[in-house]
Amino acid sequence: METEFTPITSLAGGALIGLSAVMLMASHGKIAGISGIVSRILPPSIQKESIPFGIIFILGLLLAVPIWNLFFVEIERQAVSDNYFILGIAGLLVGFGSSHGNGCTSGHGVCGLSRGSTRSIIATVTFMFTGFLTVYILRNTLGL
């Protein structure tokens, strides 16, 4: 199914993400990389000092949709595949890959690129490429 091209809201949303990353860097000196923030508070190697930091930031993420709905037009629950098995596999790969590769779209894609990190540039090119390839195979070969 097609989706509408939204350059203005996407650019504005991106700017907010960038603003949040700068706020986090200026206030706490940390990278706004979501996979890292979550991964650091998971066993077996929990970083104790990262716990309050991680939990409060994640709480902020969880409040975003309710706050949005309070002030703007309520957003509809957005279409997620209704195949729970496929969603489970996708989640597993996203969790494993982002933790193993030390970053996801936010840590490598936004913060890493903004810092000019070579590792992040390589990681971003890699996950964009495997993402393109996956969707291509799913839609053109498997017809999903």
């Binding site: 991106g14 706020m23 200026a26 989640g91 779209t105 390839l133």
Partner: protein
């Protein structure tokens, strides 16, 4: 104040994700569907974020230290290893299949959708496995 700034950063990040379309898995998949139903919006998300973060980080790092902590906690590694590329590659496959990455997945929890719960629980399991090996 320290924690209020942190909470606000999280809220702004989440609202940015919702506004930009990143919490819409179909939009993400269409961005990745270069030769099909391509929706270039997500390139604008990244562009907008970097447009703010690049000069922002540069200005912030000219300060001696962050506001509420002793020093900047930045990744120092410069080497490229197999883990980085393998991990990023696997992450991209999952991102393509589900149309969700960690930030939008967590933000979407408050849509109260069973599919999202399953995704996030599996994602945490995946992270636990990655940390074990």
């Amino acid at each position: 104040m320290k924690y209020i700034t942190l909470l606000f950063s999280g809220i702004i990040f989440g609202i940015g994700l919702v506004l930009s379309g990143m919490t819409n898995p179909l939009k993400v998949q269409n961005f990745l569907d270069l030769f099909g139903l391509w929706d270039p919006s997500l390139a604008f998300v990244m562009g907008g974020a970097i447009f703010v973060a690049l000069p922002g980080f540069w200005l912030v790092q000219k300060q001696k230290k962050p506001f509420f902590s002793k020093e900047f906690d930045l990744p120092k590694r410069k080497d490229l290893d197999f883990r980085l590329i393998f991990g990023a590659g696997v992450f991209g496959i999952g991102w393509g299949i589900g149309g969700l990455c960690p930030g939008p997945a967590l933000t979407s929890l408050t849509f109260f959708d069973i599919g999202i719960y399953i995704f996030v629980i599996s994602m945490i399991m995946g992270m636990l496995i990655a940390k074990k090996i």
